[in-house]
């Protein structure tokens, strides 16, 4: 194609580079990675956060937020939302703690009970949302309330428990994976989950069904995708993950109280949004992981600089707005076809 007469060649080159960058950003979270590196460099230089000990702390806390956002990522890709994350985390942590401390049940059985319960509650939420076409916001809020209420009835209102030493070691930033690999076990778990999620979403038929359901539910139905089954299984998965994260949170805190789950609802949603996953797609878990890391590093900077909770809330709000302004306005998948 010949150049338009009179148009400077440099402008055409710059436009071409810009378009290539935009196309790359649509495929890979480049902007998110650049922002993360920039914030971390600031943290490393102004706050001594460059030591291996500090990095382990950052990665461990980011792993908790990232794992809590795993189910949320899937649901947001599908056009859904999960407001029950914090309550499921708390219910799971308490169930295991109370079953063990008050009823003498073994940890293995208690964990199984918590995980199965999380899956069942999640599946029920997905069924109700899809069958009756009710907003997931409402259904998941209700499910979370029911889960907490049930636990409160069983425990007589006791919202305090202890964590076993092995769980505390598993969630500690100072532990090593299998005792030999110099990476905290929680970070290793997160890395494995990230790889599995990437394979699931991009390399399996089930993952493509999730993306298709989110992109255009009607078109997905016409393509013979059983969207109700996709919703049920996705919500069940989110419930199971929240239950497992509840155990890790209890280990990290070395104790259980009624607030252990509270930070993770906000963190799970913001990690997904700041990472650049849009309701109904596109997006993937790698973006969420970057979002979780970014949020955690920002948090370390704010705490290290002595920011008050009010300052922190304002800065999070601005960060979300900036993220949405920069890359939250991409057209949804259904609008591109």
């Amino acid at each position: 194609m010949s150049a338009i007469p009179g148009q400077p060649a440099a402008a055409t080159g710059a436009t071409r580079i810009w378009r290539r960058l935009v196309a790359l950003q649509a495929r890979f979270p480049i902007l998110q990675a650049v922002l993360l590196i920039a914030v971390y460099l600031y943290a490393a230089t102004s706050l001594s956060l460059s030591s291996w000990h500090s990095i382990r702390e950052i990665l461990t806390l980011a792993a908790l937020a990232g794992l809590a956002a795993t189910g949320q990522t899937l649901l947001i890709l599908m056009g859904g939302f999960d407001l029950s994350v914090s309550n499921f985390i708390l219910a799971s942590a308490l169930t295991v703690s109370v079953l063990r401390d008050q009823w003498g049940v073994s940890y293995e059985v208690a964990i199984l009970v918590a995980v199965v319960a999380g899956g069942l509650f999640g599946a029920l939420a997905g069924q109700i949302c899809h069958r009756f076409e009710i907003q997931p916001l409402i259904v998941t809020l209700a499910m979370g309330g029911i889960a907490i209420g049930l636990v409160q009835v069983e425990t007589g209102g006791t919202f305090a428990g202890s964590s076993p030493p092995w769980l505390i070691r598993l969630a500690s930033p100072q532990s090593d994976t299998f005792g030999v690999i110099g990476i905290p076990p929680l970070v290793s778990i997160w890395a494995v989950v990230a790889v599995l999620m990437a394979v699931f979403l991009h390399r399996t038929a089930a993952g493509r069904r999730v993306m298709a359901t989110g992109a255009n539910p009607r078109a997905a139905e016409y393509s013979l995708i059983r969207t109700r089954r996709v919703w049920t299984l996705a919500f069940a998965f989110s419930g199971v993950v929240s239950a497992l994260v509840g155990l890790l949170v209890a280990g990290s805190a070395a104790s259980v109280d009624s607030t252990v789950g509270d930070p993770y609802l906000f963190q799970s949603v913001v990690a997904v949004i700041v990472g650049g996953t849009v309701f109904g797609g596109p997006g993937d878990y790698s973006r969420t992981a970057l979002g979780a890391l970014f949020l955690t590093v920002v948090n370390f900077v704010l705490v290290g600089k002595g920011a008050t909770p009010g300052d922190q809330n304002m800065i999070y709000g601005v960060a979300i707005l900036v993220a949405v302004a920069l890359y939250g306005r991409e057209r949804r998948l259904r609008d591109r076809i």
Partner: protein, 425 residues
Amino acid sequence: MRESGSRSRHVRAWIAAVGLLGVVAAIAVATATSSASASPAKAARATQACGQDVSYINKIKDPDGVFKKLPANIQARYGPWPYSVRATPWEAFKGKKPPWKIGLITFPVGSPWLADLIKQVGVEFDKAKAKGLTSGSLVKYIQASYATATPEQQAAAVQQMVRQGVDGILLLPLAGPPLVPAIDAAGKAGVPVVITDNVIDGSKYVVNVWSQNNSPAAAGVAGLVKKGNILFVRGIAGNPVEQAFQDAAVADVKACPGLKIVGTVWGKWTNATATAEVAKWLAAHPDVKVDGVIQNGIMMAGIIQAFLQAGRPVPPISGGGCQGGELSWWLAHKSTYKSVATCFNGFQTAWSEFRILLRILNGNGLKVRDIHVPVPVVTNSNLSVFATPGKPLSWPGEPRGPISGWAPNSFLDGYFNKPGNPKGF
């Protein structure tokens, strides 16, 4: 041309919006940092010695003249009390004939202290029922989760209990001011509301029973460390009781010229958050030695956990609102670790609060609206009285102590015109 014009308007709108946000944020931050904290009273002691707790006793607001009528030994209990002391309509209250219906309203159970308090209120209720002092069942409203709890729910619960015919209410407020209308309405209907863990200064009918259980520990740790760096771990921002703890703690630290405050984190009064926030601060300041930590309540175990995780020596941590796990850890390390704590448990609180309510219902004549209960101070020398040996740091148990160890009958007698509990309860 039209498209590029609308795009440039679009960009300008975004720039304007972001700029406006930035200006608002800057103003808010500047205002917040320059405004004085809403401290209810400034420290009155001109020369507070290092290690001595702050005292507001000469500056207590006494608009009704009731404080100065109290005997000197009762007045002396109000040293770190930062609020006013007011008259109460319950002094003239003639009482009601037992048996009484009792209500209990609490915020979400987030600590062993509250779990034990609720349990013990049930025990006291049953014991009182056996003596013909209470009837029916204990009417309870316990909020389920902080995520959904609001003060308005508690206000509605007060109103509902009054409608149900409850004679007296024990209340742990989620927040004080929103409950004033409901408490005063209950009071006018002859239903006393006794609160703890908070102070509501704006209500005529409330009965405040409170312990400044942080500043004695803060003063103790300040006196122990004397020279070095202090890290503050605060509770929930904006909570007036938290601010009262903080003002007293800062006064205690400033009384020691060798101490320097090197940082403040917000633990939100939970061990889990305290662990995470302190861990973040330690990671961001690896070269800053922390010689002491002042925390504003029930976060000592979480802070110990953060230091252990960071591989740094655990400094003296003020044990305001101490719990069983940290006391047990301290006992196990007593030979090398020193600190100061203030301890009372939920069983003791319930025992005393229940008796205060029964005395009011019996018409014993409460002298003042506001009761301050000084808390036992725990040091290495008397630690074994309070600590349970052999328990993990995460143990959600409570400090030991006799059931009447917080506010015994002899202590309560000083606040009532007629001493003693109804029917010798």
